[in-house]
């Protein structure tokens, strides 16, 4: 099963594709979609949506995993992040994929085995689990982490659609 993890942001949206074969996790690809802050919001959303659409077409994942967000610095940054996250979720759901949401604690638990792990620890574990030559770009690494969380999650069986 192939999983597309997404870490959305209005400036940078990270993505990572992994494949679960039995108990093994394989890294397929990762990257970051960067939008120009000078661009209008609508056009930035279009870029995020279109690029994720291309990633989905290219790698044909079976599911999308995305971090659930509870906190944001303030209402204004939450609003911006919401737009980007909405665009990312739509790219998945419009391709008829299940979009699973995980909290940061669930992701850290799944990757490091400790819900309060630090960012750096998570990045290191992602690198090790997926046999990457080096730590991936920050947002791409976060996207791979949530994909790993989905791969490890018991919820897969509930969410998987025939």
């Amino acid at each position: 099963m192939r999983i597309l993890g997404i870490d959305p942001g209005s400036r940078i949206t990270g993505y990572g594709i992994i494949e679960k074969r039995g108990n093994r996790l394989l890294h397929i690809d990762n990257g970051a979609i960067t939008t120009r802050s000078s661009d209008e919001l609508a056009n930035r959303l279009k870029v995020i949506y279109r690029d994720l659409e291309q990633v989905i077409t290219e790698y044909a994942p079976n599911a999308v995993a995305i971090e659930q967000i509870f906190v944001a610095k303030n209402a204004q940054s939450a609003l911006k992040l919401g737009h980007a996250r909405g665009a990312a979720m739509l790219a998945g759901v419009n391709a008829n994929l299940t979009v699973a949401e995980y909290t940061a604690i669930e992701v850290k638990n799944a990757v490091v085995g400790y819900g309060r792990a630090e960012k750096r620890q998570v990045q290191q574990m992602v690198r090790m689990l997926l046999n990457l030559p080096e730590i991936a770009q920050e947002d791409a690494s976060d996207a791979l982490a949530v994909a790993i969380c989905h791969a490890h999650s018991a919820r897969i069986t509930q969410l998987k659609r025939s």
Copy 2:
């Protein structure tokens, strides 16, 4: 020129289509897209996007107008609203339409001539300007208001694409 106004919300998204003929404004249609709060967020975004896509296909507007949002009760509701607003903007921009944003003050100024007008006054003026038999559903009325704002706006000439 036809304008689609949108008032996005994670529960109810209002829309309104008006047509500007010279100095006259004609009401074409208005309505509200309701999503089930029991549904997963991704599916609610899908409904908003798909229904607006249908509205755009049916009425072929030349532009989309949407209210710019600066305040939200808190970060959590801002995040939710952001998702819905992102889905609405994407429906416009993916149909190659310009998405114009107006502040609440700009909308009130355009509709009532007074930036601090009360909600009820705006609804009454929307009804009168568009010759509606009665006040439209609240969110649909807000959507018509922002469409009227776009029709009245000098920005149209800047934003209009050949």
